[in-house]
Amino acid sequence: MVYLIRVQLREDYSNLIFYLSPLVAVALTLFFGSFIFLILDLSPIESFKIFFISPISNSYGISELFVKATPLAIIALGLSYCFKNNIYNIGAEGQLTMGAIFGGGIGLLFNDSTSVFLLPLMILFGAIGGAFWATIPAILKTKFNTNEILTSLMLTYVALFILDYFVVGPWKDPAGYGLPKSMPFPDTGRLPVLFDGLRVHIGVYFAIIICFITYIVYNKTLFGFKLKVSGLSSKASQYAGFKYKNLIFYTFIISGACAGLAGLFEVSGPIGLLYRDISPNYGFTAIIVAFLGRLNPFGIILSSLLIALTYLGAEDAQLFLKIPSAVGFVFQGLVLFFLLGTDFLNKYRVFIK
């Protein structure tokens, strides 16, 4: 007798499975992760404790969790606009960098300023910088029909080299012993922290506000409805008279501005100056966050916390288990693999005949 695995398109699309699959993906990641620890001759239970529990067992750790989750959440919330519209902006890392250059540039330009308006101006320019960098793929897509996946990716590397040029060239700190970094921003250009002695900053409020605004936009506005329709079928949205090109433009600008904002928050918050490696791949990791959060604003907040934990856990693992912090990337990659895989069960019914 021959058994064949057959698949069939689901007619009863289930919301429950849709929101459960991220949990299944996380569970599978932990299961496979424990094998990785076993191969490395480490006890999985102890390792998981160090990876996922000990980093957030004190107030400093919880503050760090929010420090890492804030940029991820802000970028992923912005990206969700693009992804909902089926536009693949994968250049958030570049838009983040441009935001840091624009906003940070203002901080360096007025580095003797004591004005309270300096920080708001930096924040504004951070968002403008990110949005500016995102308009390039948007223009190329709408005017020349150029694939936004490749353009936004290429522009990321251009932005990283521009930052590199500034910090080793014109913006290099003359008192910095020749290191490739800028002068520190003035105190008025630093993001206020929420608690003395901890690094968690007011960017958290921005993330929460953006989350609520996004929820309202998606569920209560015509713009959100247009996004949903054109994401499902761009032909239908054009038939309905929605200006598809405008939608592409707006979604790119929103996601670019969010990434730029996150970049500025990084440099004016925890870092305090400009240098080469301002972001540990936040722009790319935020893509995972957006998918894991199912493009739902509240889901994105939850998944940003989870992915932020993989960053922290990896740092602790390096310290206590003597394994490279890149192990965090292994978990991030795995969780995305499993999430994408479990999505299949969402769309299709599998049975054996």
């Binding site: 490749l150 290429m154 590397y157 995972i288 394994i323 994408l340 895989g341 999505d343 299949f344």
Partner: protein, 289 residues
């Protein structure tokens, strides 16, 4: 500039460009069949570390090359299963592969970082890379199988209707691309460096990706483009050595900007786009049963 200097520079360009040719020609075949694999960087790193570790442990070049290739088959096989059987989003899956590969290679290679090895002579690989480009060019334009690959990439539904196995074809091209990326990584850790260091491919996977577009999916142009990209990178170092005051970062940006310009040029005209890019690139294939 003396003759010796020019020959010296050409030699360095040859040696440093070869990984781009390997990774690029593999991705070209994958994309010709309609699949965009963004996982090159991850595949290269895992290929590099697997080859390196095997060489340190066994001292045998053949085993190390073999296992490096196997690592490419396994990882790209996983990618192929996800995007072909489970019909996942190619962009997200490719990124996951890159992120996973960066992490996995760093983890595996930790104990071996800085171990000295006797490197292989790079000229074997340089010759092989040229032969590969010629054979891929011949395969795609002159053989029946090459025609099937292109047909699958241009219109998978028609190819299916003509009786060709879309999934199988794409499995083969994805795995070919994966193996080529591992070879690129193997070359970097065994011939070019020769050593292992975390993240040592240094973004070459992304440049190779740009290269395929820059070459408008044509093997010959890929070879020329690779040497232009590689040459620009080496030129930058030499120009600075003789005192040219243009910042090096602008040279480093050139491959990406050149690719952007080519992309805009080919996509601004519908006919030109059809003649260059595979029409089904990045479009998932759902078999109707």
């Amino acid at each position: 500039m003396s003759i010796e200097l020019i020959i010296g520079i050409l030699n360095i360009v040859l040696i440093s460009t070869t990984p781009l040719v390997f990774a690029g020609i593999g991705e070209l075949v994958t994309e010709k069949s309609g699949v965009l694999n963004l996982g090159l960087e991850g595949l290269m790193l895992v290929g590099a570390v697997t080859g390196f570790i095997t060489l340190v442990l066994t001292g045998n070049y053949f085993y190390s090359l073999f296992l490096s290739i196997i690592s490419g088959v396994i990882l790209s096989g996983i990618f192929a299963f996800l995007v072909l059987n489970l019909m996942t989003n190619q962009i997200a899956t490719g990124l996951a592969l890159t992120i996973f590969g960066i992490g996995l290679s760093a983890m595996l290679g930790k104990k071996f970082a800085g171990t000295p090895i006797d490197g292989l002579n790079p000229y074997y690989f340089i010759v092989i890379s040229f032969l590969l480009v010629f054979s891929v060019g011949y395969f795609l334009s002159k053989t029946k199988s090459g025609l099937i690959v292109r047909a699958v990439g241009e219109n998978h539904n028609s190819a299916y209707a003509l009786g060709y196995n879309v999934i199988k074809t794409r499995y083969l091209t994805i795995i070919f691309g994966g193996v080529m990326s591992s070879l690129a990584g193997y070359y970097i850790s065994i011939c070019y460096a020769p050593m292992w260091q975390e993240g040592m491919t240094a973004g070459r996977g992304w440049i190779a990706l740009a290269l395929v577009v820059f070459a408008t999916w044509k093997p010959w142009r890929l070879l020329v483009g690779a040497y232009i990209f590689g040459g620009v990178a080496i030129m930058q170092m030499n120009l600075q050595a003789i005192g040219v005051k243009l910042p090096g970062q602008f040279f480093n940006m050139m491959p990406y900007i050149a690719t952007l310009i080519v992309l805009v040029f080919i996509s601004s005209n519908k006919v030109r786009l059809k003649l260059s890019a595979p029409s089904c690139l990045n479009i998932p294939y759902e078999k109707n049963s």
